[in-house]
Amino acid sequence: MEENHPGSSSIVRDNHEDDCKVTWTHPSHIFQRLIALFLMCLIGFGSYFCFDNPGALQDDFIQDMNLTTSQFVYLYSWYSWPNVVMCFIGGFLIDSVFGIRLGTIIYALLVVLGQIVFAAGAYLNALWIMIIGRLIFGIGGESLAVAQNNYAVLWFKGKELNMVFGFQISFARVGSTVNFIVMEPLYRYVKKQINIPNYQSLSIVLLVASLTCVLSLLSALLLAWQDKRAEKLLHRKTPEATEVVKMSDVRYFPKVFWIVTFIIVFYYTSIFPFVALGKVFFEKKYNFSPDSANLINGIIYIISSICAPGLGLVIDKTGRNLFWVFISILGTLISHMFLAFTFVNPYIAMFTMGLSYSMLASALWPLIAMVIPEHQMGTAYGIAQSVENLGLAVVALLSGIIVDSDGYYMVELFFCLLLSAALLLTAILWTCDSMNKGILNMSIKQRNQLESNKPPCPEKQNLLQNNDITED
């Protein structure tokens, strides 16, 4: 599941607390906010848990439903296709059409529905029904993440917002990790207990997994009630639709933005499709049991859930984003090379990949905010995520075809090639940046100096005055 970033969420007015002392039942009390935070985290748990269900049961899907790897990856590519568009309109629908409460409930409902259709497809041994299920799930899943961010801004802006985002990401990664750990034993248990065809056992397991989505839906309902109550008690005004994605803005985007977007695409397409196909790779190449293969495959998410906040802090303290992006991509490339060319304990490669992945998320995405003015941020993040989804859909399909025709070695070479392209683009970006003001790779101290020396400028002016950094 792709990274989601609050940059694309709508701006919401600050809510003012009453100065008087409040009881624990009052929405502005810390207890109420903690409950809201817990519910926000739960909202995303189901979709993150179910997103990688196919990856955790890859060989079971392939054997029980008699699929080729090329067919199996449809389950991922059809998740991504709708999000090429939904990245733009998901947030807009929340802001302008449904409102945050109804929007969240609708998206959570879509996630439940998508997962149930997915399970029904497995029960009927019909791949096309499963694909429809994944498509519905994809529409709901990505937009639900946007809704989750909006809720966070609404409840925590000006308070503990960064920590809240950190919690949400960590909780999402816990969802992915739990999926990789429990799905295979659960499948074996169902297969052992119920004497039905294997693909129907698969559908039962997927249906059980859909309970996590139901849990998310319940959380969405509870949070909607809590938010409605807070709105009433705090006399909070419904936020206006402040930001609409304007495609016409695209022509003002500097080249730097497009380079960053392509780095995002090349990087993440070497991570998510790899995780989707990783289980069988570890079973075949390293002779791992299905459980161990799932564990090592999910290690990226485990590391991310633990280390992401700490590594984010490192970047907050040091700056030098391009340096960290370069190191992260290089680390991931070395990991993939180890997996492609050697039989060295794969935990070393996966641990490095997990650290690099966590580091990159904190270092790469803020680059967009550095080169795009605030009023175009939503469009910029929307486009970046849209292109990323397009890349993921295409690369997932290609990876499946390559595995079927040429094996895992070739697909690993393909991932190495993508990462080399990302590394080269980073070097080009770094070169361009260093030939100019070096904004993207400044230390925090230099950045603060620049900010303090800068004359007050209009809101719409960005750090680069809408010019490419290659131009003087």
Binding site: N66, T69, K284, G407, Y408, L417, L423, L424, T426, A427
Partner: protein
């Protein structure tokens, strides 16, 4: 001294024939005048692979136990089979063979894998089926312009008291006149001095719901190469040819020098005619043992070539056996598909290795190119950073 000369000679021959093409000729019961008469006693397929300096003879015999004997001789040597004489020593060559290596399908085992370990050592209720008691027929012979030859032996009946087996057991031999790869997964790499043997168990009725099959293979290696045989495995990264299999087993008959016979296989079986990675399961291979049980060796063409010299203390041949079982835990046993396909290479000389293809080389070259440009750019950035540091120190900027 003679042995040493022989080693040097054959090594020279092997060195010169590496990767050289050979012309193939196929004959059914070679030298037989009255085919109807010969067929009653002999089911011999003979493939002659002529190189520039020597000839490799492939003798596939299905008279008793299906066996493949590979013999290296001088180029002009001709096989001579005396169909009217006793079996002992009735197959000869006009010139003494330099080296002989053989592989024999000895027994097929069915066992009840109650604990689903796929390991024959944990099996129960063994049923032993002697390969000679299958009724073998040569049903197909494909000769592709003397460049490749494919022989198919099949049996649809097993005659032995107390064992009732229906279904088709078949053995296929493929020989290529030049270095090439097998047409089906796991695409074994062939040399002109090797042949690919495939065993297929199709729709065999089983005695247990958790039945698995295993085979016992015999190997024969003649003086002077081998002092012993060893089973080794090696891993490889490129699974382009093997479709998700990264391991190769090699049973090598070698002594002080390389160049003896070998068996080579990937530990993979396929559970459907379409040999695709998703239909695959594994093999387990077991230790090699000395095998001097005369009754089994007598039922092979080696007895026709070497007679009683195979046996006794003065025997200078290595007679070995080992087992391979088919399947892996949780693959739902033979009954899931009622089909097993296992293939291995039998040959002499250096075991073949696969090489990098054009596509792999192109990708690796592009990768290296991009990394080189990246490193140059990073070096430039570093130099620029160093010079700006120096300037800031000098000018206090």
């Amino acid at each position: 001294m003679n042995a040493l000369n022989s080693i040097v000679f054959v090594l020279t021959v092997f060195t010169t024939i590496v990767a050289a093409d050979r012309k193939l000729h196929v004959e059914w019961n070679p030298g037989c005048v009255l085919e109807d008469h010969c067929s009653k006693f002999s089911k011999l397929t003979y493939i002659r692979a002529d190189g520039e300096n020597d000839t490799v003879h492939f003798v596939l015999d299905a008279t008793f136990k299906p066996s493949l004997v590979i013999v290296v001789t001088n180029r002009d040597a001709v096989i001579q089979v005396n169909y009217t004489a006793d079996r002992e020593n009735n197959i000869k060559f006009t010139e003494s063979p330099h080296y002989t290596f053989a592989s024999v399908f000895n027994n097929l085992y069915e066992f009840n894998d109650v604990n689903d370990t796929a390991n024959i050592k944990n099996g129960q209720n063994f049923i032993k089926m002697d390969f000679k008691k299958f009724h073998w027929n040569t049903t197909q012979s494909i000769n592709n312009n003397n460049e490749s030859v494919e022989i198919l032996l099949t049996s649809n009946s097993y005659r032995a008291p107390g064992i009732n087996k229906t279904g088709i057991v078949s053995v296929t031999l493929k020989v290529y006149g030049k270095k090439d790869i097998g047409s089906k997964l796991p695409h074994l790499v062939h040399t002109p001095e090797s042949g690919e043997l495939t065993l297929t168990l199709n729709n065999l009725n089983t005695n247990f719901t958790k039945s698995r099959f295993a085979i016992e293979l015999l190997t024969f290696s003649s003086f002077p190469f081998n002092k012993t045989e060893e089973l080794s495995s090696n891993t490889f990264s490129d699974d382009k040819l093997s479709g998700g299999t990264f391991l190769n087993y090699l049973l090598n008959a070698k002594g002080d020098v390389e160049g003896g016979g070998f068996l080579s296989w990937k530990p993979v079986v396929y559970k459907a005619e379409n040999t695709h990675a998703l239909n695959s399961s594994s093999t387990i291979q077991y230790d090699i043992h000395d095998y001097h049980y005369e009754n089994d060796w007598i039922n092979t063409p080696l007895f026709n070539m070497y007679g009683n010299s195979l046996f006794g203390n003065s025997s200078q041949f290595l007679l070995k056996s080992f087992n391979v079982s088919f399947g892996q835990p949780n693959d739902e046993f033979y009954a899931k598909s009622n089909y097993t396909y296992w293939t291995f290479l039998v040959g002499i000389g250096a075991p073949p290795n696969s090489s990098l293809g054009f596509l792999e080389l192109s990708i690796i070259a592009s990768l290296l190119l991009m990394l080189t440009i990246t490193m140059i750019l990073i070096f430039c950035i570093f130099m620029r950073w160093m010079s700006s540091k120096r300037n800031s120190l000098v000018y206090g900027q």
